[in-house]
Symmetry: C2
Subunit: 190 residues, 2 copies
DNA sequence: GACGATACGGACTGGCGACTCCGCTTGTCC
DNA sequence: GGACAAGCGGAGTCGCCAGTCCGTATCGTC
């Protein structure tokens, strides 16, 4: 389908592209998506022209960053899930998504956007995660570790919400752990 | 302190000011705080000049809207709390804050900002709410209805998070109820 | 009903940020 | 090592939006 593989990038171009993605991830996460494009270019040590050649639009850059994030999450979740006991896999997966989603709030909305609008490429990688989550949820419910009446939409909403909670809470390890306890206890059948 | 009461506004001015606040609340909530000022003026049936006379800055307008929201929440919480049993008061208060915080996400951050930055007037009304929440929490904990190790910061973070969850979930009554069940169960001592 | 004070509308300005364009540099291939 | 394509930098353009200014309309008072 997406088979059209363009000729490979020149070495420097590939390097710049990768660097831009890294820097953009960092900057968007740290300072929010409203950060001027030029700042990202400067931080990556390239001109704006270069940035816009690689990503024709600021939105395209944002999208590329989000796709990569989602793919990372999906990959790690897969690792984690492989051969683990269902209940444990579910709760570990929950934590993992939260940890990976950290950063300036708008990013948690990548996940949100996942189920709602989003362009083709986003749709694809978010679909993968949704499928994984659905599976984790079903497994945990079959094992009696999670309330059976919860659906995937509620789980995703909760993930977004807990992400926001952590954002608000800051880095205090113990407080974060207390939040997880509250939510995880609440998720279990009473 | 704040005693300086200026001469009363002319009738039309007072009307316009009130209308601007109402419209701004609606628009910011529905379409986000990035909505151009001019749009709000038009929706209120006044010129931009008028808007900026009443609120010298877009930020000032936003602040005024938030203060009003916070005051509403504080007032209703007070009503609710009066003479209620502590556990019930706490959980009802929790629901109330969530319901009142509804609207395009950035608004939930009014509460967030509450504890963090915010100008003088915001600080004042948010302080009131924080105090109320602290009291509700302490009461519920004394009554054994909420885990004793939770602090005010965690509670506030949870409120923000559950607000985001609801935002993400949409208007589905039953799903929302399921979220409340999860969180409330989780809040109780195990 | 007339007059001063108050408030209004909306054209205008200034600054900012996304995106373009093109002369110059660098990688690649023979 | 030279030729040419691929890529680069960054000054410049364009549109958008917050906030100003002032001639005009409205309010309130006598």
């Amino acid at each position: 389908m997406t088979g059209a593989q363009e000729r490979p990038l020149r070495a420097d171009a590939a390097r710049n592209r990768a660097r831009l993605l890294d820097v953009a991830t960092e900057v968007f996460t740290t300072r929010g998506v409203a950060t001027p494009t030029e700042e990202i270019a400067r931080a990556a040590g390239v001109g704006v022209g270069t940035l816009f050649r690689h990503f024709p639009t600021k939105e395209a850059l944002l999208e590329a960053v989000m796709v990569r994030r989602l793919e990372t999450i999906a990959a790690r979740t897969a690792e984690l899930t492989a051969g683990a006991e269902p209940a444990e896999a579910f709760f570990d997966g929950f934590r993992l998504v939260i940890d990976q989603s950290a950063g300036k709030d708008e990013f948690t909305q990548a996940l949100a956007a996942a189920g709602v609008d989003a362009h083709a490429s986003l749709r694809e990688s978010s679909g993968a995660i949704r499928a994984q989550l659905a599976e984790l949820l079903a497994g945990a419910q079959r094992a009696g570790a999670v309330r059976p009446e919860l659906g995937l939409p509620e789980l995703i909403a909760l993930l977004v919400g807990v992400g926001a909670t952590m954002e608000q809470l800051g880095p205090d390890r113990e407080a974060r752990e207390r939040i997880f306890e509250v939510v995880f206890d609440g998720l279990r059948p009473r």
